[in-house]
């Protein structure tokens, strides 16, 4: 009797399920695995991209400067007095002469921090929704050489006063990320993250505007960087909600990412 041959598909079922569900196993090392060595006397740089944040930037910078000496604020061509607010604060201030978007501003800050000899680079939001107390937990695994990237997660931690619509949008973002970036995270669009020096040097943000969060995750997967998710607190205020992305914008950003991929 002729042996029955298994049904041949152009793509294996397991691969298909990975594509559909976006589930990934443990990332394979394409780069060197985590060093496992503690960085002694690490230079921590906090990078903040700020566009018209004169209302919050000073208090955010001051809170950070109480603990960390190297705070880099990139004023992304603000039309208000964001940069002037920081005069005498002790923050390092760079200014984009033209508005180039948050992704571009973060990349500028990261490159500057690396040039100044940063061992760990932390990205932080200017609108006051992040808690500087979370940074310690965020940088610890990197200092200890356990992984190269840590990502803040408001869904492992707490999102205070999060409106239902924002929560839904963020969950949609997580699903989008699982499908298209194939990175399994619980919170894909959190601006609070930390990078080791070598990861920060390898990750190049080219999406100048808001799509950079997805782009960073893409590059973490492509580069094979090891990452951990760390619970963080996000404090929603009327101000931070107004500065954040509307649902319609989120859809536009998603389309932008897909368009860039197609090209």
């Amino acid at each position: 009797m002729a042996k029955r041959r298994p049904l041949e598909l152009p793509i294996s079922v397991s691969k298909l399920s990975i594509l559909v569900l976006g589930a990934v196993g443990s990332p394979k090392y394409k780069c060197a695995p985590p060093t496992g060595m503690t960085i002694t006397n690490p230079k921590i740089f906090i990078v903040i991209a700020a566009y018209n944040e004169s209302r919050t930037i000073r208090s955010v910078a001051d809170k950070l400067l109480a603990t960390y000496s190297d705070v880099v604020v990139v004023d992304d061509g603000s039309t208000d007095d964001t940069a002037a607010r920081l005069t005498g604060s002790g923050a390092r201030v760079l200014r984009h002469c033209l508005n180039r978007g948050q992704g571009a501003a973060l990349q500028t800050g990261v490159r500057y921090a690396l040039a100044q000899g940063a061992d760990v680079v932390v990205t932080f939001d200017a609108d006051g929704q992040h808690d500087q107390k979370n940074i310690e937990a965020l940088i610890r695994p990197i200092i200890d050489g356990e992984c190269d990237v840590t990502l803040g997660s408001r869904f492992l931690g707490r999102a205070h006063n999060i409106p239902a619509s924002r929560k839904m949008m963020l969950k949609a973002g997580v699903l989008f990320t699982r499908i298209f970036s194939r990175v399994k995270v619980s919170d894909s669009h959190n601006g609070l993250r930390a990078l080791s020096r070598r990861a920060a040097a390898s990750i190049q943000v080219t999406m100048d505007r808001m799509a950079h969060a997805s782009e960073i995750l893409d590059q973490i997967r492509q580069g094979g960087w090891t990452f951990q998710e760390i619970p963080v607190d996000i404090y929603y205020s009327e101000y931070s909600l107004a500065k954040g992305q509307s649902s319609w914008n989120a859809i536009k950003i998603g389309l932008q990412i897909l368009l860039k991929r197609a090209l």
Binding site: S89, V93, Q116, D208, L263
Partner: protein, 133 residues
């Protein structure tokens, strides 16, 4: 069809197209603009022929199995526009990336505020004259 059976449209457009064609033929002699000139010369020649003898597009269209001459022209335009659209979109992306890089270099080269000496105390931070105003 003789020269004296031209309709009003042909009488107006054909001299114009002829001038443009002659101009691009002259430009063929210019080494740096040869490629562009050759393309334009071909376009103006094709335009002149199809305006003078509208039957040509039908003849070409039928050879290609399209049928109507106007359809052929439409298809060519659609394809050209799509290619041009992608080309310009790509150019735009490259231009934007270059612009960002310039803005970034300027920002890093001239920080508005940073420690006067990276190893000194926090109180030694300086503000550049640019920001004092």
């Amino acid at each position: 069809m003789t020269l004296f059976h031209l309709n009003a449209f042909q009488l107006i457009v054909v001299p114009l197209v002829t001038v443009l064609f002659v101009r691009s033929v002259f430009l063929l002699g210019n080494a740096t603009r040869r490629r562009g000139a050759a393309i334009w010369a071909f376009i103006w020649l094709a335009a002149g022929i199809t305006i003078l003898r509208p039957g040509t597009t039908i003849w070409v269209a039928q050879r290609l199995g399209i049928g109507r001459g106007t359809d052929l022209v439409l298809y060519i335009f659609v394809i050209t526009f799509l290619i041009a659209g992608f080309y310009f979109f790509n150019r735009l992306l490259k231009l934007e990336a270059a612009l960002t890089e310039i803005v970034r270099q300027l920002a890093i080269r001239e920080p508005i505020q940073q420690p006067s000496n990276p190893t000194t105390r926090k109180s030694d931070f300086v503000t550049t004259s640019q920001e004092r105003t």
